[in-house]
Symmetry: C2
Subunit: 261 residues, 2 copies
């Protein structure tokens, strides 16, 4: 490199130079970066070094590379997909939890029998290798084309206790909640949000670009005696999706306490 010596390896210096050029506005969002050949000439380094620098910027999610076309500055648009959770206490003590999106199920849901893994078993309060129904859905937001993977896991022993559930476990969550309520359960939910890098099959199924994490939402429906009944998992690309929790107290509730972060 002909530039001033920065800390670290050559390719990191190149990456830092390109990063600054992007952040300073020399390359605006969506604009093409110089080609590898041009970067080689510009910084007087070999092609592996340039490619290494580009790989670093890709891993940061700062740029996007298209085969045969070039590298482009990624657009950091607002997520097209907002999953709303509302916890509202309206009059009469009624409780409402709602989504804001209209999903479309592209293909028929895939239902199969399986067993709990160590991870899912722990969430459902079961041992590993317990028999469960699994129902997979590919959800699509028709407005933007954003995709999400939805999976419902119902233990056999829960399904058998509820009339008509074991015969058709591929119901929509609402219908299942209704069945559980009719069976006398008082329901509450816990939702666990995590993020991680996608597995290869998730990358293709969700059509994720480089360096895009998936958000993993695990919702557990609890019944009477706080017994975990059903596990729902929602996976969506973090570049398009965000989760919003709205926590509302009614007017009488002004007192609050304890720590918050």
């Amino acid at each position: 490199m002909s530039e001033i010596q920065r800390p670290g390896a050559l390719y990191q210096q190149v990456a830092a130079a390109i990063r600054e050029a992007i952040l300073s506005g020399e390359f605006t969002a969506g604009a093409p970066l110089p080609s590898e050949t041009q970067l080689i000439a510009r910084y007087q380094v070999s092609r592996p070094t340039v490619r290494n620098a580009i790989a670093a910027l890709r891993a940061e999610g700062l740029i996007e590379v298209r085969h045969g076309k070039g590298s482009f500055v990624r657009t950091t648009g607002t997520p097209a997909l907002t999953i709303n959770r509302r916890v509202t206490r309206s009059r009469g003590g009624q409780f409402t939890s709602a989504d804001g999106i209209e999903w479309t199920t592209a293909e028929a849901p895939a239902v199969f029998r399986s067993h709990t893994t160590q991870a899912t078993g722990a969430l459902l309060g079961l041992d590993a290798e317990e028999a469960v129904f699994v129902c997979d859905r590919l959800l699509t937001d028709p407005a933007t084309g954003t995709r999400a993977l939805h999976r419902t896991t119902i233990p056999f022993e829960v399904a058998e206790g509820i009339d008509t559930l074991a015969e058709a476990p591929d119901r929509e969550p609402d219908a299942i909640y209704a069945l559980l309520s009719e069976a006398g359960h008082t329901l509450w939910w816990s939702e666990t949000v995590r993020a991680r890098m996608p597995l290869p099959d998730e990358r293709t199924a969700l059509q994720l670009p480089d360096a895009t994490p998936v958000m993993h939402l695990a919702r557990i429906t609890h019944g009477t005696d706080d017994r975990p009944l059903i596990l729902e998992e929602l996976r969506a690309g973090a570049d398009r999706a965000q989760l919003v929790y709205r926590i509302t107290a009614d007017k009488a509730a002004a007192t609050r306490s304890s720590r918050n972060a």
Copy 2:
């Protein structure tokens, strides 16, 4: 490669072979993978191909590489850090929202005056370039050493309306909430959860390993007339942190409706 031809490039075949070896249990969590030299001999490919395969597995977060030591299967342990949000309606209509963690503020919080960016301005219902107080904290969980970045953003016009807030904006969130309540505000919160790849400075501040996303939690405190008052942001490595929302209805509330995902 001496193995059966799989789809895709050579390095992807090698990566797939190693991935299967990990998932099938040939290499358990924490165990060292064969060295690059050994992988070259095993699959009869060149070093760039092996390194490319390893890079792919690193980007997936499946393995971890330590300079001079080797590659290791990453432990997919349960997050050490669980941020709990409880939305409980106990008797008398009391409202409680609480964390489950005890944070330690390693260094003194850094307070400075700044301006809203386009992103933060939109969240607070302000234009860009509006004057705000910003308070940065580095939080540490003493039990595990897990770190998180906390930022409080208070617009000038909010701070000036509240007695003693403008003089000492570096209070803990609870104290600020108390001040707002005393000033006659009825508070409610909205929390937006997103995930993305960390910027380089976040990587170092949070001590993140490779291919680890950050979870970005933006909590907005709303006051009377739903006016956005304060923005809190919490950033933590997604390898260690998870967010749990517990949604509880009291016993009278059995009815529920609308879609859920």
